[in-house]
């Protein structure tokens, strides 16, 4: 079958976009409802999210066949991709505005600009956080609307992607909270400790939720329903992806960090290793899902495409029209 049209850059983009969305969403929630007034603690996480968005967009654009005209993505009204791009841009713009409000702390030359923006920083973060949520959901919804791919075409996928995005966002905040470029006060350092404590619990919840949704989705596909999805899920559960799935994603990406979170207290295992594992697990999830783009086979299709020449076959590049040999 012809598939794997989307290559690693897209999986990475989906991961990074979700991650950025998760960071912005959580930062906005915390800044608005949990620890209002200490926006500077989220300056570094927002910077991380911006970097993720930037890298993600580079991957996205580079993966296009005609990157020079990427702006054409906004020429129709209906497509989901267009909405995704819009969310990304809005979230990135407001995250940037938020960041600019603190950049003066690091580089006094921008102090004036920061001073101008600072009053609206909370607002910027709320907008960025809202669109961050949109990005997280968009990554899953975009795949799930492509009903040609049975493994994607499930409402569980956006849920899974969203939870995973928040979870990875959580991990990223844990790793990056508080500090440059914003100037930190003792109070804000204390607040960041509180946020860390809360995030610790939140991520436990998220990882458990993700585990449940993931297993439900994969195992239910593997057990019943659409033949294509079943075959794909069986590949995850006991086929060629089983190692990656059980050891990589479920084990190292979810169960191990969960154990570390619960049992690790404030050890490096819980504060450093577990979030990194969660991030890796999230990334692996995107790769595995994007690669599981099985279509229903038209009878004989696989046999046909498997027999075609590979693009590196010698005869393909041996002769060039216009370049006569004899």
């Amino acid at each position: 079958m012809k598939h794997h049209y989307w290559e690693p850059p897209i999986a990475l983009y989906l991961f990074l976009g979700g991650l950025a969305g998760g960071i912005l969403f959580l930062a906005a929630i915390f800044n608005s409802f949990v620890v209002p007034g200490y926006a500077e603690v989220f300056a570094l996480p927002v910077l991380v999210s911006l970097v993720c968005v930037a890298i993600g967009c580079v991957f996205l654009v580079v993966d296009l066949g005609q990157p020079g005209v990427f702006w054409r993505v906004w020429t129709t009204s209906k497509s989901i991709i267009k909405w995704g791009a819009t969310f990304l841009v809005i979230a990135a713009v407001f995250a940037l505005l938020f960041l600019l409000a603190f950049i003066g702390d690091a580089w006094p030359i921008f102090a004036g600009l920061s001073g101008l923006l600072k009053p609206a920083a909370d607002f910027f973060l709320i907008v960025a956080g809202f669109f961050g949520l949109c990005i997280m959901m968009y990554t899953g919804i975009m795949l799930s609307t492509l009903k040609a791919h049975a493994f994607w075409a499930t409402p569980a996928l956006p849920v899974l992607f969203t939870i995973s995005a928040i979870s990875t966002g959580c991990a990223a905040i844990v790793l990056s909270i508080g500090g440059w470029p914003a100037a930190m006060t003792l109070e804000s350092l204390f607040v960041s400790e509180i946020v860390l404590e809360i995030l610790h619990v939140v991520d436990i919840v998220l990882v458990i939720a993700e585990l449940i949704v993931l297993l439900t989705m994969v195992l239910s596909f593997a057990g019943a329903g659409n033949e294509t999805a079943k075959a794909a899920a069986r590949r995850w559960v006991k086929g060629s992806y089983a190692g990656l799935f059980w050891v990589g994603m479920v084990g190292l990406g979810l169960v191990v960090p969960l154990v570390m979170y619960i049992g690790g207290g404030h050890s490096a295992a819980a504060t450093l290793v577990a979030p990194i594992l969660v991030l890796c697990g999230g990334c692996l999830l995107r790769f595995m899902v994007v690669n599981t783009d099985d279509r229903a086979e038209i009878p004989g299709e696989n046999r046909y495409y498997n027999r075609l020449a590979k693009n590196d076959a010698e005869f393909i590049t041996k002769w060039t029209y216009g370049d006569n040999q004899f």
Partner: protein
């Protein structure tokens, strides 16, 4: 938009300011040329759109028999013309043989250098030391034979023995011509035997499908569930190579179940009782273990064919590719057709005979130039006589006596190709020193590829004319670029064996320094010093027009006119021809016990002989090589060993796949796509497994022709371009005793092999795998038996020709079968009346002079000079176009006022010089043919309708009344 370089498209054909890939054929300056496809024998109609001397687009011709259809090959014609690997210039070898170092030199210089060398070899070793190999029709081979005949060598050959020729000859021995033109519209039943039009002649397949829809029953005989078998009404999946046994058992069934057409047999078949007795032992039960079919399946097929008459059996390549039993099989099938009364009848198998209305290929060959002593030197003609000079001469003389024309010597009378290759290696029967290879890659298309490769390497002087740098061309001293499809006009004469003709125009002049094969032979002939008068045509168009001119088609002043206005010529449908003049055999009947075959030392009736390797006769071989191999069948999208360079085609089918039944694959632990070795006693090749139940669990089917032009040929001279590693001909045998003793063909079907997966340490084609041997054996490399010490599969059967009861007069030949005399040279029959009869026109000729009897004028005509003679063979004198009777009394009533001039033999008016014409009643002026009246000698003036007295200038009307001005 620029089309990228990797695109299958052509650069520069698309305007840059549009994204459309469509070429506008309606733009200014585009002309449409009716051309023909030139990639297989189907020769589908092609419309070429030409602008500024280049083809910008082609399309299938919707008004031709292909109805616009073109296969993979046809649609790629434009890519073929411009392919970067095409040979565009004459190449002269500058490095060692095979090194791949060439110098481009002008075409004519290369021709002269080759001619000088050939002449030198001829002077030193005789003309027969020069041989020429051909492939399938992609050439005008009469031109090759015209060259070879003038040069004096009998050693031209093709792969003809694997394709139709032995069958044609056997069929001609039975009934006087090959009954190959199926009249399907009236047929009730069609047997497609060893033929898979679904992968070879697609236009034909379309017709079969349509007819089947209207009730035609189609029986497919094929060991593989082929494309065609998938659409059949009855499919007979026989053991590969057992076709002869099946044919004999079907013949037995038809005869012993009384299903023959008794009326036809009684009136037209000679020796039927003998045949009946002869096939008594070939029961379906006898054939069952050989063919792996149930006796009832065989009976069912025989009944279906015999009870649904008229019916057709379409010739299939397989008949000529089962080795020892090839001609036996086609002989039995020929008799099946005959006893069912399907020969030359509406709805049956038509026997067109040679072209009587235009020039045949044979008439273009100058066969009279080849001396008898050179004919005798033809390699292989002492063994495989049916398809070389001994058999051809008998069949051809008979054809001239019965049809008045004959088969070409190209294809039908050739040296035995494998024996020529062996002669290059061994010098036995004599050293062949030079080989001109035209339009073939013998390593892939002839049997025993390893031996053939060795011969080509060893050949002292090798010249190749081709489109591509083939493994054969790699070893050449000179490579000549060939012009192909679109660059040459095409004429379809069906090997010169039929009476219809089709034509297509040249779309463009050959590109670069490419030349057509006719031009090659002509230039080479002239450079060798052949008489320019024998090479009068500079272009194909001129030659083809010469061929067609006798048709006298209205408005046709050139070959291009013929294509534009007619495109094809079919004589009026003429079936049941035999009813008027008998069959075209020596006896005039269908010969159930062929006299020609017997005279050649072969059985006159089909006598079973098994495959060279089979479970029954050679169990010891079958033990080590238990699987039956079949190969040689055509498969889409390739044609023979061609088109592997065409990227758009190759992309679809990049690697060779052989078919193996899942049951066998499981036993051998082979999975779909695995690379496997296929090995016979002669060697081994590797291919990928197509695991599919389209073949019997003990059969594998391997496609032919594979080589890998994308590789560097010179990198491995043991296996250049990988030409051995997936080449099924590594597995075949051309040992004399493995060849058909009559036709000389070798077996592609029904060989015994073993199959095993390529192992981790045994997946490369090694040097040991490439070692040649004579006879073919992988265990004993080198020459272990000289060719002339090899036996044949069947010893000749002595035949004593009866002596004539009366002395044969000088200048005549006596045909013992019919006890008839034929004039030598003309081959006219001496009738009881004492006249000679021309078989072509059925006209009478004077036995002494050969002059034709003209019944209308009651005189004899010498057609060569156009002169007329009296029945007493005295020349008839004409004056002013009026027949004269000098020295005789007036044979007609002379008007009163005229005088009979006995000396001159006509009536005159006074002293006037005019000649009286008794038919019109006028006097004719011998100087200018003007009419004068017989009373006064006045001149008739057509402009006014008056008579003019030239002396006075006065005008008179037709009743002599003066006309006033």
């Amino acid at each position: 938009m620029e089309i990228s370089k990797t695109s299958t498209g052509l650069k520069g054909l698309v305007s840059p300011d549009t994204v459309s890939t469509e070429v506008d054929i309606h733009q200014d300056g585009v002309t449409m040329v009716k051309s023909l496809c030139y990639f297989c024998h189907a020769n589908c109609g092609v419309l070429a759109y030409v602008k500024d001397g280049d083809v910008i687009k082609i399309e299938g011709d919707p008004d031709y028999s292909n109805q616009g259809g073109l296969c993979c090959r046809g649609t790629s014609a434009l890519l073929h013309v411009n392919h970067p690997a095409r040979i565009n210039h004459a190449l002269k070898r500058v490095g060692a043989k095979g090194e791949g170092k060439w110098e481009k030199i002008p075409y004519d210089q290369a021709i002269q250098e080759v001619a000088d060398r050939l002449n030198q070899i001829k002077d030193e070793s005789g003309a027969e030391a020069v041989a020429s190999a051909g492939g399938t029709t992609r050439t005008d081979d009469w031109a090759r034979r015209r060259f070879l005949n003038q040069f004096g060598t009998p050693n031209g050959f093709h792969n003809a023995l694997l394709c139709w020729i032995p069958t044609f000859m056997a069929e001609t021995c039975v009934a006087g011509w090959s009954p190959f033109e199926t009249d399907l519209a009236g047929a009730k039943c069609l047997i497609l035997w060893g033929m898979n039009p679904g992968a070879s002649t697609l236009g034909g397949m379309n017709g079969y499908t349509d007819l089947q829809k209207n009730g035609l029953k189609i029986v497919v005989v094929d060991p593989r569930y082929s494309e065609t078998a998938s659409k059949a009404d009855l499919w007979l999946p026989l053991r590969p190579g057992s076709d002869a046994a099946l044919a004999l058992a079907m013949l037995h069934t038809i005869i012993y179940e009384g299903l023959v057409n008794w009326e036809f047999v009684g009136e037209w078949c000679d020796g039927f009782e003998e045949l009946q007795e002869h096939v008594a032992e070939y029961t379906p039960e006898w054939a069952a273990p050989i063919t792996w079919l149930e006796p009832d399946q065989i009976r069912q097929a025989a009944r279906l064919y015999a009870m649904n008459t008229p019916g057709c059996i379409q010739w299939g390549c397989t008949w000529d590719q089962i080795g020892r039993a090839s001609t036996t099989g086609s002989h039995a099938i020929a008799l099946m057709r005959a006893v069912c009364g399907n020969l030359d009848v509406p709805g049956g198998d038509g026997m067109p005979g040679p072209a009587l209305n235009y020039l045949t290929d044979e008439e273009m060959e100058l066969n009279e130039c080849l001396p008898e002593e050179q004919k005798a030197k033809q390699i292989g003609s002492n063994k495989f006589k049916l398809t070389s000079w001994p058999g051809y001469q008998m069949i051809s003389d008979n054809a001239k006596r019965t049809w008045g024309k004959t088969l070409p010597t190209e294809w039908f009378c050739e040296a035995h190709g494998p024996s020529v290759f062996k002669a290059i290696i061994t010098g036995d029967p004599y050293q062949v020193r030079a080989l001109i290879v035209n339009a073939t890659n013998p390593i892939n298309s002839y049997g025993d590829a390893k031996m053939t490769l060795q011969a080509l390497k060893q050949c002292e002087f090798l010249v190749v004319v081709d489109y591509w740098m083939t493994p054969t061309a790699l070893f050449a001293d000179y490579v000549f670029p060939a012009a192909g499809a679109l660059e040459r006009p095409t004429i379809v004469t069906h090997y010169g064996a039929t009476d219809s003709i089709m034509g297509g125009r040249r779309a463009i002049q050959p590109k670069y320094d490419r030349h057509t094969d006719m031009t090659f032979w002509r230039k080479l002939g002239l450079a060798c010093g052949q008489d320019p008068a024998n090479w009068p045509w500079e272009t194909e168009e001129e030659a083809y027009f010469h061929i067609l001119e006798p048709l006298g088609l209205g408005g046709v002043e050139s070959y291009n006119d013929f294509v534009d206005y007619y495109r094809m010529y079919y004589p009026p449908l003429h079936q049941n021809k035999f009813k008027a003049n008998g069959f075209w055999t020596p006896s005039g009947k269908v010969e159930c016990n062929s006299t020609i075959l017997r005279e050649l030392g072969y059985p006159g009736m089909p006598t079973y002989i098994g495959c060279i390797e089979n479970e029954i006769d050679t169990p010891e071989i079958a033990e080590e090589y238990p699987i039956v191999l079949t190969t040689g069948g055509g498969f889409m999208p390739y044609h023979h060993s061609e088109h592997f360079q065409m990227q758009g085609i190759r992309y679809l089918y990049p690697d060779p796949y052989f078919s193996i039944n899942p049951e066998l694959a499981e036993k051998l632990n082979i999975a779909y796509g695995d690379w496997c070795w296929i090995e016979t006693r002669r060697g081994r090749i590797k291919m990928r497994a197509n695991v599919e139940p389209e073949v019997h669990p003990n059969v594998v089917f391997a496609p032919r022709g594979w080589w890998f032009p994308e590789r560097d040929g010179s990198a491995d001279l043991d296996n250049p371009f990988g030409c051995l590693e997936s080449n099924v001909n590594v597995l075949t045998s051309v040992d004399d005793e493995h060849c058909d003793p009559m036709g000389g063909s070798w077996a592609n079907r029904g060989l015994m092999c073993k199959v095993y997966k390529c192992g981790e340490y045994d997946k490369e084609y090694k040097k040991e795998d490439t070692q040649f041997s004579i006879p073919g054996s992988s265990s004993e490399p080198g020459v272990t038996v000289m060719p002339s010490d090899q036996k044949l599969a069947r010893e000749p059967i002595p035949f004593e020709k009866p002596e004539p009861a009366e002395a044969v007069p000088e200048g005549y030949e006596w045909v013992w079968q019919s006890n008839t005399l034929y004039q030598k040279g003309t081959h006219f029959r001496l009738d009881e009346s004492g006249w000679l009869i021309n078989p072509r026109t059925k006209g009478y000729h004077d036995a002494h002079t050969g002059w034709r009897y003209d019944a209308a004028n009651e005189c004899l005509v010498d057609d060569e000079t156009g002169k007329m003679y009296t029945m007493e063979r005295e020349e008839i004198v004409f004056a002013a176009g009026v027949r004269c009777y000098p020295g005789q009394a007036a044979p007609y009533e002379v008007p009163e006022n005229l005088t009979w001039n006995q000396e001159k033999g006509y009536a005159t008016l006074g002293d006037k010089p005019y000649v009286y014409d008794p038919n019109s009643g006028w006097m004719l002026d011998p100087d200018n043919g003007a009419f004068h009246d017989a009373n006064y000698g006045w001149l008739y003036d057509a402009a006014t309708g008056h008579l003019v007295d030239e002396a006075t200038g006065k005008h008179y009307d037709m009743s002599y009344a003066p006309v006033e001005e």
